[in-house]
C-alpha cells in the first residue's frame, strides 16, 4: 500500500508538471492583460497538430522546437487582430471572445486535419520505461518534466532579469503607471501573449507524444489548468506552479482509494481553497503579484 501511495505521489508530480506548463501560460496572460484565455486549449491542439505535420520533415526534435514558435506566431496574429480590441473592457468581453475562439480553433483543426485522431510517434528511445519496477516513469515522462523545469526556470529568469520581463511584472502590478512611464504597453501585452501561447504550443507537442492527438483534446486539459491557477492564487506564477503540482498529486493519490473521484478531487480542492483562503494559496489579497 505504501509503495502504491509513493508510486502515485511521484506519478501525480509528473502529471502536475504538465498542468503547470499549461497553467503558467494562462496565468501570464491573465495577470498582465486580464484576459481569461479560454482558447488556450485550442492553441495547445494547434501546437500538437503543427508538430504532427512537421514531424515527417523535421523529426520529433525539430517539430518540438519549431511548432511552439509557429503556434506563438498564430497567437500573436490573433492577439493583434482580435484580443487587443477588448483590452481594458470588462473581462466578460475577452471571455466571450476567447470562448468563441476556442470553438473556431477546434473546428478549424477538424476541417484541416480531419475529425479522426492522428498517431503522433515519439522517438523509440523515449518510449521506454526506465525500470521494470518503476514502469510508470518512462524516459518520455522524465523528459517532459525536464522540459517543464527548464522552461519554468528560463521564464522566471526572463521575468526577473530582462527589461521586458521586469516590465511585464511591473505591468502586472500596475499597468497604468507602467504606461505613464513611457513603456509601450501594447507591445508589452503582445509579447506577453505570444510567450503564453508559446507555452501552450509546447504543451501541445508534449501532450501529443503521450496522449491521443484529436481536435477535442485541449478541452480536457484546460480545466485542470484553471483550477491550478485558482488554487495557487490568481496573479502569482509561483502559486500556479504549486497549484499545478498539488492537483496532480491529489488526483494521483485519490486514484488509489477512490478512482472514480480522481477528477472530482481537483474541484473539491478548489472549493476548499476558495472557502478557507479565497485569494488562493499564494495570491496576496488585492494584489496581482
Amino acid at each position: 500500500m505504501t509503495q502504491l501511495l509513493l508510486f502515485n505521489i511521484t506519478n501525480g508530480l509528473i502529471i502536475g508538471a504538465f498542468y503547470v506548463l499549461m497553467a503558467i501560460g494562462l496565468s501570464l496572460i491573465l495577470n498582465l492583460s486580464n484576459v481569461i484565455n479560454f482558447a488556450h486549449g485550442g492553441f495547445l491542439v494547434v501546437g500538437g497538430y503543427i508538430a504532427y505535420t512537421l514531424e515527417p520533415y523535421l523529426g520529433f526534435w525539430g517539430a518540438l522546437i519549431v511548432s511552439p514558435f509557429l503556434t506563438a506566431i498564430i497567437g500573436l496574429a490573433v492577439e493583434k487582430t482580435l484580443i487587443s480590441r477588448v483590452y481594458g473592457r470588462d473581462p466578460l468581453y475577452s471571455l466571450l471572445l476567447t470562448f468563441g475562439l476556442a470553438f473556431i480553433l477546434e473546428d478549424g483543426t477538424r476541417v484541416i486535419w480531419g475529425a479522426n485522431g492522428k498517431p503522433f510517434t515519439i522517438p523509440a528511445a523515449l518510449a521506454q520505461p526506465l525500470s521494470n519496477q518503476f514502469f510508470f516513469i518512462t524516459s518520455y515522462r522524465l523528459f517532459m518534466v525536464a522540459v517543464v523545469a527548464v522552461t519554468i526556470v528560463l521564464l522566471f529568469l526572463l521575468l526577473r532579469y530582462t527589461r521586458a520581463g521586469v516590465r511585464i511584472r511591473a505591468g502586472t502590478l500596475d499597468l497604468e503607471t507602467v504606461s505613464a512611464l513611457g513603456v509601450n504597453v501594447r507591445a508589452l501585452r503582445s509579447l506577453n501573449f505570444a510567450v503564453g501561447i508559446f507555452l501552450a504550443g509546447l504543451s501541445g507537442v508534449l501532450a501529443a507524444g503521450q496522449l491521443g492527438l484529436e481536435p477535442t483534446m485541449g478541452a480536457g486539459l484546460l480545466m485542470p489548468s484553471f483550477i491550478a491557477i485558482i488554487v495557487g492564487g490568481v496573479g502569482s506564477l509561483t502559486g500556479t506552479l504549486v497549484g499545478g503540482l498539488l492537483i496532480g498529486v491529489a488526483s494521483g493519490v485519490t486514484a488509489v482509494f477512490f478512482p472514480a473521484a480522481s477528477e472530482a478531487i481537483m474541484y473539491v480542492l478548489m472549493a476548499v481553497v476558495l472557502l478557507v483562503r479565497p485569494r488562493g494559496l499564494f495570491g496576496e489579497e488585492g494584489m496581482l503579484t
Binding site: 471571455l95 503522433f120 510508470f136 484529436e214 483534446m217 488509489v256 472514480a260
Partner: protein
C-alpha cells in the same frame, strides 16, 4: 489600491464563472445542412458531428449519404426520392431531443436515424416513440435500447454491450487467462459492458482483480495503470472508447504493460486504431464490421465506392451502420408499399438483410421480439504492423453470428407495447 482590490476579485470570480461557462459549451448548437425538393420522403439523422464522437459520426453520415444515393438512383422509396436532413446533437442530450422534435414536428420526417451516443439515443427514442416515427438507432450500444427501454418503433443496428462481451469473453479466457482487471469508462455504456464481461467471466470460473472506473474524458490513465499492475491480473481489459481509449493504450504501450500482462478489450474501432501509434495497437478485440472480408459478396464494391466518397478512406463499422440503417428503411418500405410507421415497424421484425446490404458471411436479421439486428461480431487481433494496406489494422480470426452472441429475446427485458 481600491482599484487593484477590485481587479483581483473580478479575476478570481470571473475565472470561476468561466468554469461554469465551459460546462455550458456542450450545449451550443452548430450547423445544419439540408437540401429541399418537392415531393420527397424526408429522413432525418441526428449525430454528434462536433465533440468527441465527431469522427465516428461523420463516418456514419458517409454511409447514410451513400445509401441515399443508391436508393435514389434506383427510383427512391415508392417512387419518391429520399431527402436527407442532417442535425448535430453536439453530443448533448438536450440538444439531441430538441433536434429530434424539430425534425419530426417542423420538417415532418418519416424516418429517423441516430445517435452514436447511447444517452442521446435513448432520449430521442422517447421522442420518436411519442410521435410514432420509425427510428433506427445506428450506433448507440447500451443494452436498454433493445432491452428494458425498448419501443415498438425503435430498431438498432449496432451490437448491444452484452453481445460484444459474449463475442470475446470466452476467447480471452481460454487464450489469455482467468484473472481479469477492468478499466471502465464511468457511464451507462461502460457499466453495462463491464457487467456483461464480468458475468461471462464468473460463468467460466474466473476472478476479477479490480475495476477502475474512469471519468469520461480522462487524459491520464497512469494512476489506474499503476493500480491495475499492482493487482497482477492475467488480462487487462481496456473498455473506454475513442480518445480515452487512445490515451489509455498509448500509456499502456509506453509503460510496457503489454509486455507483462495481456492487454485486450471488447469493442474496438478502426477510427481508434488509426489514431494510435503502432506500438499501442495490441490485443484481442471485436470489431462490429470490418472492411476486409475476402470472398464475401458486395464488400469489395462497397469499399471501393466509399473510398471514392471519403477521400480514399475505407469504410469503418460506423459507415456500415449508417448505410445499413438507411437501406433497411428503403427496403422495407418498398416491400411493404407503405410509409405507415406501425406497418413498417411490424414488417421490419424478422426482416433479413440481403447480401448487398449485410456485407458479412452470416445471416443478418432484425429480431422481432426486441428489434435488435442480429449482426456478426468480427473477433481478432489488432495489428502493430498494417497487413499491406495502411488501413488494414485488424486481423479477423472468427466471424460469430449475432444470434450466437446475443442473449435470447426472453432475457433482454424488452416488452414491446404496440399502439392500439
Amino acid at each position: 489600491m481600491t482599484k487593484r482590490l477590485k481587479l483581483g476579485a473580478v479575476d478570481s470570480r470571473a475565472l470561476i464563472k468561466a468554469g461554469g461557462v465551459a460546462g455550458l459549451a456542450q450545449i451550443a448548437a452548430p450547423f445544419v445542412w439540408s437540401a429541399r425538393a418537392a415531393d420527397t420522403i424526408k429522413v432525418g439523422i441526428i449525430d454528434p458531428f462536433t465533440g468527441v464522437y465527431a469522427a465516428v459520426a461523420q463516418n456514419e453520415l458517409i454511409g447514410v449519404k451513400y445509401a441515399v444515393e443508391q436508393i435514389n438512383a434506383k427510383g427512391g422509396v415508392l417512387g419518391r426520392p429520399i431527402e436527407l436532413l442532417v442535425e448535430d446533437s453536439a453530443n448533448d442530450v438536450g440538444t439531441g431531443v430538441q433536434k429530434a422534435r424539430k425534425l419530426i414536428e417542423r420538417d415532418g420526417i418519416q424516418f429517423l436515424i441516430g445517435d452514436v451516443n447511447s444517452g442521446i439515443a435513448l432520449a430521442i427514442a422517447q421522442v420518436s416513440n411519442e410521435k410514432k416515427v420509425l427510428h433506427i438507432v445506428s450506433g448507440g450500444h447500451t443494452d436498454g435500447i433493445t432491452g428494458k427501454d425498448c419501443h415498438w418503433n425503435v430498431y438498432r443496428v449496432c451490437n448491444t454491450t452484452k453481445m460484444e462481451a459474449n463475442s470475446v469473453a470466452e476467447l480471452l479466457f481460454n487464450k489469455y487467462g482467468k484473472k481479469w482487471h477492468f478499466i471502465t469508462p464511468d457511464y451507462a455504456f461502460g457499466h453495462t459492458l463491464q457487467e456483461a464481461a464480468q458475468a461471462d467471466l464468473k460463468k467460466f470460473g474466473g476472478t476479477v482483480t479490480g475495476n477502475e472506473l474512469t471519468p469520461l474524458g480522462t487524459t491520464d490513465f497512469s494512476a489506474y495503470l499503476i493500480k491495475a499492475r499492482a493487482a497482477n491480473p492475467d488480462v487487462l481489459l481496456v473498455l473506454p472508447q475513442g480518445l480515452d481509449m487512445v490515451n489509455c493504450l498509448k500509456q499502456v504501450a509506453q509503460f510496457g504493460i503489454d509486455k507483462q500482462i495481456h492487454v485486450a478489450g471488447l469493442q474496438q474501432e478502426l477510427e481508434s486504431l488509426e489514431a494510435m501509434p503502432p506500438e499501442a495497437r495490441v490485443g484481442i478485440w471485436m470489431f462490429e464490421w470490418y472492411w476486409k472480408q475476402p470472398g464475401v459478396p458486395g464488400v469489395e464494391k462497397f469499399v471501393a465506392d466509399i473510398r471514392q466518397r471519403s477521400g480514399g478512406k475505407v469504410p469503418t463499422a460506423r459507415t456500415w451502420f449508417g448505410y445499413t440503417s438507411m437501406m433497411s428503411y428503403a427496403l422495407v418500405a418498398n416491400q411493404a408499399k407503405t410509409l405507415d410507421g406501425v406497418t413498417l415497424a411490424k414488417a421490419l421484425g424478422n426482416f433479413e438483410l440481403p447480401p448487398e446490404v449485410k456485407l458479412q458471411p452470416n445471416k443478418c436479421y432484425y429480431r422481432a421480439g426486441d428489434h435488435q439486428l442480429m449482426t456478426s461480431a468480427f473477433v481478432g487481433e489488432a495489428l502493430t504492423k498494417p497487413a499491406g494496406d495502411p488501413e488494414d489494422l485488424f486481423k479477423v480470426d472468427t466471424v460469430i453470428p449475432g444470434d450466437k452472441t446475443s442473449p435470447p429475446e426472453s432475457e433482454t427485458g424488452c416488452t414491446l407495447q404496440w399502439p392500439a
